[in-house]
């Protein structure tokens, strides 16, 4: 996890509340764990675990059709799973907000994470998603707020990509000891 003193998940949680987001769809990631705990403890927010990430994009498409707002929490490997699910929000101009924790790009120890991590921005952009990259903890909450406005006011699909620089990278040799 991050070595910064800044509690960015608390700031993001506050942004989600302020923006009127009530549905959180997620496939968990270590980098999202504190934000997930904060959402779990919030009676105004419903957290739904998915078996795979495309379920989340489908659910959020329906949530918006029904008049509510949601966010998807996922990691970069999961971005590979959502491509065709973005067809509906793309062609229907349904706002989609995603917060993606990145792997495979900054000191990654697991080579299997590299292909999708490196491919994440390109895949998202190919499907019409606006990508906001952040690599400083203090930038995350403002980026989520800007992304939420761009999504729900600007009727866009928007992903905030949180760099491994913020999340910290694992050393697998340490973990194996």
């Amino acid at each position: 996890m991050t070595d910064t003193k800044l509690d960015w998940p608390a700031d993001v949680h506050k942004v989600l509340r302020d923006e009127g987001i009530t549905e959180v769809a997620m496939v968990p990631d270590a980098g999202h764990s504190r934000l997930i705990e904060l959402c779990e403890g919030d009676n105004d927010i419903s957290l739904v675990t998915m078996t795979t990430e495309e379920e989340g994009i489908h659910m959020l498409s329906g949530v918006y059709l029904g008049g509510a707002k949601g966010v998807m929490l996922l990691q970069s490997s999961g971005v590979g799973n959502i491509m065709n699910s973005l067809a509906m929000p793309n062609t229907c101009r349904i706002p989609i907000l995603m917060i993606v924790t990145m792997r495979g790009e900054w000191g990654e120890f697991n080579s299997w994470q590299v292909p999708m991590g490196q491919g994440t921005p390109g895949c998202l952009e190919a499907m019409g998603v606006r990508v906001l990259r952040v690599d400083q903890a203090e930038e995350i909450a403002p980026a989520v707020k800007a992304a939420s406005r761009l999504a729900f006011d600007g009727q866009q699909m928007v992903a905030v990509l949180i760099s491994q620089k913020v999340l910290g990278f694992k050393d697998f040799r340490e973990l194996a000891r």
Partner: protein
């Protein structure tokens, strides 16, 4: 295995049970033509693509509109592609959602290739039940259509009802396909224009 029911007649009969508080979403392909054929209303949303997603899209609507009854009409091909939805919905259940699978055992839009339900090896209602869906059923004959209506409209959800229908080559009855139009029409109908457009 596919059964003897005729999908167009079945969907026509099903929609007789709807009112303004019924929202219906149809998965890509034949379910869209069936639903449009049975009567186009703004409370219909035709999902023309995003295969595998119909159940979860309907689930999202049901979460946002807990006082409406949400009925998803989909096919076996699509449902087989998104079976994880059964587990997700079962673990975070809503009472206002029914998923009706029109199971003809075929990929109808692509040449009628057999799906995994075609020989009875794979049982979608069984998968839904084992995933924890509260109420599941398989309907195979006309005498059970009243039961299907009860499941779709009244039974506390989540419900998964599989209707075994014939494999038939039917005329496409195409609804509007502009996603923007369908989205705005649906939201305007259930939220009112002022709220939908903010």
């Amino acid at each position: 295995m596919s059964g003897g029911l005729h999908r167009r007649d079945l969907v026509k009969e099903l929609v007789k049970g709807r009112d303004k508080n019924t929202l219906m979403l149809s998965g890509l392909g034949s379910p869209c033509w069936d639903l449009n054929n049975a009567g186009d209303v703004p409370e219909n949303f035709y999902i023309w693509g995003a295969m595998g997603g119909a159940a979860m899209i309907g689930y999202g609507v049901a979460r946002a509109q807990p006082d409406k009854r949400v009925i998803v009409l989909t096919g076996d091909g699509e449902m087989l592609m998104g079976m994880g939805a059964f587990a997700s919905i079962a673990n975070f259940p809503v009472r206002n959602l029914a998923i009706v699978v029109l199971d003809n055992g075929r990929f109808g839009e692509t040449g009628g290739q057999k799906t995994h339900t075609s020989t009875g090896v794979t049982d979608l209602a069984g998968i839904a039940k084992a995933s924890g869906i509260a109420t599941t059923a398989t309907i195979t004959q006309e005498s059970e259509i009243a039961k299907l209506k009860e499941l779709a409209f009244k039974t506390p959800g989540p419900v998964v009802a599989v209707a075994k229908v014939q494999y038939e080559k039917l005329k496409f009855v195409l609804p509007a396909n502009s996603g923007g139009y369908l989205k705005d029409r649906f939201r305007n109908a259930i939220l009112g224009v002022d709220r939908a457009q903010m």
